[in-house]
Amino acid sequence: MCLLSRLKGLLQIRRLEREVDEELRSHIEMRTQDNIAAGMPPQEARYDAQRRFGSSTLAKEDMRAMDIVGWIDTIGQNLRYAWRMLRRSRGFALVAILTLALGIGANVAIFTVVHAVLLQPLPFPHSEQLVRVYDDLRANNTHDVGMSVPELWDLQDKSGVFQDISVAWPVDANLTGGEHPDRVEFLGTSTSYFTLLGVRAQLGRVYNVQDSRPGFTEGIAISDGFWRRMFGLDPSILGRQIRLDGDLYTIIGILPPEFHNPGRSLGSEVEVFAAAGFNAAPFPTPPQRASRYLPGAIARLKPGLTVAQAQARLDAFTAQLSREFPVEYPPAANWGVRLVPIQDDLVGKVRAELLVLFGAVGCVLLIGCVNLANLLLARAAHRQREIAVRQALGAGRTRLIWQLLTESILLATVSGLVALLILAWSKSSLLSLAPANMPRLNEVSLSSGVLLFAFFVSIATGIVFGLVPAFQMVRPNQVLNLREGSGGSGTSRRQMSISRTLVASEIALSLVLLIGAGLLLRSFGQLIEVQPGFDPHGVVIAKLWLAVPNDPAEDHYGTVEKRAAFHQEVVRRVRGIPGVQAAAIGSSTTLPMDGQRFRLRFTIESQAAASESTPVAEVGSVSPGYFGVLRAPLLRGRVFSDSDDSKSQPVVLVNDSLARKYWPSGDALGEHIRIGGPRRRDGTPAPWMTIVGVVGDIKSDGLDTATAPRIFLPLSQSPTYDAVVYLRTGMDASTLGDSVRQEVQSLDPSIPVFGVRTMDAVMKDYLAQRRFALELLGIFAGVALLLASIGIYGVMAYTFSRRTNEIGIRIAMGAQRRDILKIAIGEGLVIVTIGLAAGLLGSLVLTRFLQTMLFNVKPADPLTFLALSLLLAAVTMMAGFVPAHRASRVDPMIALRHE
C-alpha cells in the first residue's frame, strides 16, 4: 500500500471519516429508494438496505485498518497491553531491566567515546582539508625529521597545494614577574595559525597575517584554561603584558574554552599561542635550508583537493626541490613531505583499541539478550493459555507476534532510558577512569548522535531477545493448550532445542571474548617483562627550562660556558639534598617514554665515502652521572667525566643499537663521527667527535619498539636550554620537588621547576592505555562468562524440570541415579562442545583484528586458545552439573505424579 496515501490519510482523519460515513449513507439511501420503488414498505426497505452492509462498523474498521490510523491505533493498543503485562510480572521486569540497562549502558558509554573520538569531525570548518605536514627521509625509513624555514616558505608559496600552512611548535616558556616563576605550555606558530583553523577569540582578537613580523609578534593569545588558572577570568587582562622567557608580550585575545590545539603538546594543554616569522632573533638568520629545527606544521589544503591528490602534487614538488638543492637534499636520502589528515594524526593510534572494545561490549549485550530470550521461553508456558485463547478469538498470527515484540521492545526501551539516566548522572566519574592521554576526551558528551544510537540499540535489543520467543509462542493450532493441565511436551521439545542452540551460541560468544582478553593479557605480560634497559624504581625527575629571550644580548645563558656552568652547579647542589643518592642532568630528549625526540643526521669519518644513505640518530646531552642514576649499563669504553668540558676534545657516547648497526663486525670505540653538516651555524667547521664509550640500549621510545640509534653528547660540551634533573633517591616526589625548586631558584629565581614525577609514574602512564583496554576487555569477558554460565544453568534446570515425569518413569523402570546423571551430563556436554567449536572458529576469524594491539603474541596463539577453552568448558560444565545432579536425585514417586 502506498505509504504516501497512508500518511495523507493520517492528516485528514476526521474528514475521511465523515466522507466514508456520508458515502455509506448515500448508498443505503439509494437502495432504500429502489426497494420502495420495488414495492417494499419504507421501514423494511431501510432495514434491508442496512442489513446488507452487515455491521457497518466492521466495514469501517477494515477500511480504517488500511490507513495509518489503524497502525497507530494498533501500536497504542499493543503498548497499553504490554505495559499491563509488565506490571503484572514486576519481579521479572525488574531483573530484565537491570540486566538490560547494564548491557545497553555499557554499549552507549563506549559508543560515546567512539563517536566523539573517531566519528565526529574535528570542530573546525571543513576539517577534512586540515592536514599535518611531516618531513621524512624515505631512504632510511626515518620519519618526522623536522622542517627548515625555507622549506616552510616554499611549501606555502610555491607548492600550490596549501591555502595556509603554519608551524606548530610546542615549547616550554617561563612566566616571570609574579611571586614565583611559572612554567607555561607555549605554542610557536605562524601568523596564519588561527585563520587556518577558523578559530575566533571569545574576547579580544587573535593574530593574523597582518601581524606578521620577522621575529615574534608582540600580541599573543591565551587559552581559556590559562585565563582561568592564572587570572581568575578577569577580563581586564586584555591588553596587559606578561613576561615570557624574559620578553614582554601583550595579551590581545582569549580563546574559547572548547578550542584545543589539534596536535601534540609537551605536557598539558597549550596555554599561550604566539606567532613568529622565524626570520629574526632568537631564530638563526639567515634561515638555512639544511637547518631542520621546526618540528612540523599544520596546513589547510586548497579547496577541492583530496589528500591523495595533494600528496601526489607534493611528491612532484619535493622531487623538483631536491634537484634544485642537491646539497641540502642528497638524493640518497630521498627526502619527502608527508601529509596526514589531522583526525588520523590525532586518533589513529587508538582507533583499533576503541573498535575492539566496541565489538566486545556488543557481544556482551548479545549474550545478555540470549539469556533473556531463554528466560522468556521458559516463561512462555505460563502464557500459552492466553495466546491460545486470543488465537481462537481470531487474532492473526502477525498481530500476536507484534504484540509480544512490543512487550520486549518496551522492556528494552525502558532499560535504555534507565541506562541513559545512569550514564548522565555518572558521566564525570566514568570519564576519569579513561586513560588521560586519550585524544579528544574533552569532546565526549551525550550528544544527539549518542542518543539516537541509544534509541536504536534499545529497539534492536528488544527485537533480538523477543523475536525467537515470540515466534515460538505463537504457533498455529494451539487448541491443545486450552485443555486443563496440559504439559504440551510436543511443543516443549522444540522449545528446548531452541534454548539449547541459544546457549551454545552464548558459549561461543563468551569464548571469543575470553580469548580476546586472554591474548591481550599475555601481550601485556610480555610487554612488562621487556627490560627497559634502565632501572626506573627510585628515580625522581624534575624539568627545567632556561629562558630563550628574543634578543640574544639579554640571554643570561647565551654561551656554552654559562649554560654548562649552570647545569654543573645544579647537579652539585641537588646531590647535596638529604636523601639523594645520586644526581644527573640531561636534555629533555633523554627522558625515556616521554615522547620528545631530536633527530639529526651524522657522518662517520671512516665510512663517509661508502655511505649510501644518510645515517640518522636521536641526539641527547647528558651529564656524567646520567647512566649511573638510571643504572643503564656501560658496555665498552667509558662514560663522560668532569674533565670532558668545552675546552677538551669533543667526545660522544653511542648506544648499542647504533654501534651494531654501523659497525656490525668491528668496534665503534675510537671512531670519529660528525653531527649535522660540515659547517656549524656560525660558519665554523663542525668538529669530528670521538666515540669513547658504548652504552646499553635504553628503551626510550616504548617497550614494544626497537631502540633507535642514539648519540649522547656531554652536557658540558653541548648544553641545552631544556633540562631534566634525574635523582636516585628513596624520597617521595613532591617533597623532593620542593627541595629541587629551592636549590634551583637560589641559583636563579626566574627558573621554574615543573613536571616533578617518579620514573615509575612515567612508566605507568606509558602503559596506561594498554592497561585500560586490557582491564575493560577483561571485565567484559568475565561478565560474558558469568552470563553464559547462568544461561546454561537456567536451560539445564528448565529442561530437567520439564522432563521430571520422564525421569520418574526411567527410575521406576530400573535406571540408576548414575544413568540419569550420565544422560544429563551428556546433554550438557553436547551443548558445550558445539559452543566451544563455534567459538574457536569465530576466534580464529576475529582475533586477526587484534593484531595491532598485540606484542609478541600471535593472534592464533594455541596456548591461549587451549587454556581458555578448557576454562570455559570447566565453568560451564560445573554450571550445568548442579541441575543435572538435582535431576538424578528426584524421588520417582513424586516425579511420576508431576505434570
Binding site: E23, S26, E29, R31, M63, M66
Partner: protein
C-alpha cells in the same frame, strides 16, 4: 474474524469492479447493481466487501474518486479508472482467461 465468502468471488471482485468502471464513472451502489444485473443475479457483491475493496483499490492507485450528484440529485462518490487501473484491468483479464482455460483443460481430461 475470517469472513466466509466464496473464494472465487473475493479474488475476482477487483476484476469485476475494474471492468465495470471501464466505460465510465460509477458510484458504489451503481457498481453493485451493474454486476448483479449483468450476471443475471448470480453474482451478488455484498456491501461489506465492496467498500473495503474500493478503498484498497483507491489506495493502490487503480481508481480515483470524486463527489458528484447522482440521478436523483443525491450526493454520491463516483469512482473512475486511472491509467494504472486500465493496465491492471488488462492484466487481470489475461490472468482470468488463463485460469479458466486451465480449469477447462483439467475438466476435459477427467472425462
Amino acid at each position: 474474524m475470517a469472513k466466509p465468502k466464496s473464494d472465487v468471488l473475493q479474488g475476482t471482485l477487483a476484476l469485476l469492479i475494474l471492468k465495470t468502471l471501464e466505460h465510465g464513472a460509477m458510484h458504489g451502489y451503481g457498481i453493485t447493481l451493474h454486476i448483479q444485473r449483468v450476471s443475471s443475479d448470480v453474482l451478488r457483491v455484498e456491501e461489506g466487501s465492496l467498500y473495503p475493496a474500493l478503498h484498497r483499490m483507491e489506495q493502490d492507485g487503480w481508481i480515483t474518486a470524486e463527489w458528484g450528484t447522482s440521478e436523483n440529485n443525491r450526493r454520491a462518490r463516483y469512482y473512475r479508472l486511472t491509467a494504472t487501473g486500465r493496465k491492471q484491468l488488462a492484466e487481470e483479464e489475461k490472468n482470468w482467461a488463463r485460469l479458466t482455460e486451465a480449469v477447462a483443460s483439467v475438466l476435459q481430461f477427467a472425462q
